[in-house]
């Protein structure tokens, strides 16, 4: 295929201009969704890790089971369950809500594991020291253990966050109007794959900086394990 043809097909200026607003709207949805997933997922994960540190065996068992299940299920299956199956029970979630819920639960599960690793990796003595100055378990967790766990676990956490927020693309299966959906419908409407190329570029613009930033963070904070 000659260069001119290639440009006409994949980088068609006319088509691009026509569908740019649509793709941009999709980008906004992608970014919004990503941000709320990160916020809710990390918060929930942190909460679960804290709950796991409490002396209740039942609670710990419940959390580990819950987390393992969410680590074993494919996110796409969850999204389909929430969007297509729940309505049968009378629960109707919007595409945004269904995607958000599924990916938040998954991120919460993975980040709980990471936070827990951060908590466990600290020597017993730190908790003992905190308790010996009169802090309650919760205070010690909140002011000493968890902040340090967060610092230790930045690197593995970044990786997970990136991987899971890329899953916003799965929302297209639930007819969510994020980038992929807008790009594919625009492409088929225009009979030209330029909008798809724009969508691809859109994803790269959003995620490539994050990946590069992630690598810099990893370098600075050490790759977690070894």
């Amino acid at each position: 295929m000659q260069l001119e043809q290639l440009i006409f097909t994949f980088f068609n200026g006319e088509v691009a201009v026509r569908y740019l607003p649509q793709i941009l709207k999709g980008a906004v949805v992608t970014v919004e969704l990503g941000l709320v997933i990160i916020a809710a997922g990390l918060a929930l994960g942190l909460l679960l890790a804290y709950l796991r540190s409490l002396p209740s065996r039942a609670l710990r068992l419940l959390i580990t089971i819950w987390v393992d299940i969410l680590r074993a299920l494919p996110p796409l299956v969850l999204i389909i369950l929430f969007y297509y199956a729940l309505p049968f029970l009378g629960v109707s979630l919007s595409a945004f809500a269904a995607t958000w819920l599924a990916l938040t639960l998954v991120l919460a599960a993975f980040s709980e594991e990471v936070f827990w690793a951060g908590i466990e990796s600290q020597p017993r003595g730190v908790m003992e020291a905190a308790r010996s100055t009169g802090l309650t378990h919760t205070q010690a967790m909140a002011h000493v253990i968890l902040p340090q766990a967060c610092r230790l676990m930045i690197a593995p956490l970044t990786n997970r966050v990136i991987a899971i927020t890329k899953g916003t693309a799965y929302g297209s299966v639930a007819a969510l109007n994020e980038i992929l959906n807008e790009a594919t419908s625009a492409s088929s409407f225009a009979g030209n794959p330029t909008p798809l190329m724009m969508g691809a570029v859109g994803y790269l613009v959003i995620f490539l900086p994050v990946v590069i930033a992630g690598r810099t963070i990893e370098r600075r904070h050490g790759a977690g394990r070894h």
Binding site: M1, L6, T9, F10, D68, I69, R71, A72, L73, P74, P75, L76, V77, L78, I80, L81, Y84, A85, F88, L89, G90, A117, E120, S121, I162, A163, K166, G167, T168, A169, Y170, S172, V173, I179, L180, T184, S187, P193, L196, M197, G199, A200, Y203, L204, F207, L208, V210, V211, I212, R215, A223, R225, H226
Partner: protein, 228 residues
């Protein structure tokens, strides 16, 4: 409660769809059986290239390659190939698109893992190997890679589990994997039990692996005495 049983655990529906869903499972497993070894191999090659090649341009290209495919959502890549390749005159079957998409994605993820693994092997090992006359390649193969794999084994297992879960995106391009079978069954019978069945099968398949992964990760964090 009745609603849940009727729509999520409907025995009638189960009897009808189970063979169909299991056929889809077989396809999912076949996909995994192909893409995982290919991904591991290509990832290893990418990491080795990063270590052996001295040419600055090639090294820069490798970094771009890895970052590019780590940033690109796999589903988007798949759709991109599926929809876009025909315009280039390339006729690739849906399975072919899946295989290509997975290879591009996996080679960068596994490549990153192997690279981190190789970096974690102390420089002294490389020096000792070279000091006895081994070439860079020989040192990699006999000394550094075995240790690298040991060091990042939990990460490798973790990523392999991710790949199995990722095979569900094949359903979006009409490859008849388990999710595709479940969704088709659901829309035909107007009952989401097949999807619950698919979820349960994924659980049965992957939960043991997740527990194994937990065990591996804990062991790596707190190596027991005597483990050399």
């Amino acid at each position: 409660m009745d609603l849940i049983v009727q729509y999520f655990f409907n025995l009638e529906v189960l009897k009808e769809v189970t063979p169909y869903v299991l056929a889809g499972l077989w396809t999912s497993l076949k996909i995994s059986a192909w893409v995982i070894p290919l991904g591991l191999l290509s990832g290893l090659l990418v990491a080795m290239a990063g270590f052996l090649v001295r040419n600055r341009l090639v090294r820069a290209l490798l970094v771009v390659y890895i970052d590019l495919f780590r940033a690109f959502p796999p589903l988007v890549l798949l759709i991109f190939l599926y929809t876009g390749l025909p315009y280039l005159g390339v006729e690739l079957s849906p399975m072919g698109c899946v295989a290509l998409g997975f290879m591009l994605n996996n080679s960068s993820y596994f490549g990153e893992i192997f690279r981190a693994g190789l970096e974690s092997v102390s420089r002294g090992q490389h020096e000792a190997a070279r000091s006895t006359g081994l070439t860079r390649f020989q040192s990699l193969i006999h000394v550094e890679i075995p240790q690298a794999v040991r060091n990042v084994f939990p990460d490798l297992v973790s990523n392999m589990i991710e790949v199995v879960k990722l095979t569900t995106i094949a359903s979006v391009v009409s490859v008849p994997d388990m999710l595709y079978a479940a969704r088709t069954a659901q829309s035909m019978l107007y009952n989401p039990t097949p999807i619950v069945l698919a979820a349960a099968i994924y659980l049965a398949l992957l939960w043991p692996l997740v527990m194994l992964l937990n065990h591996l990760e804990t062991r790596q964090r707190r190596p027991s005495a005597g483990a050399a």
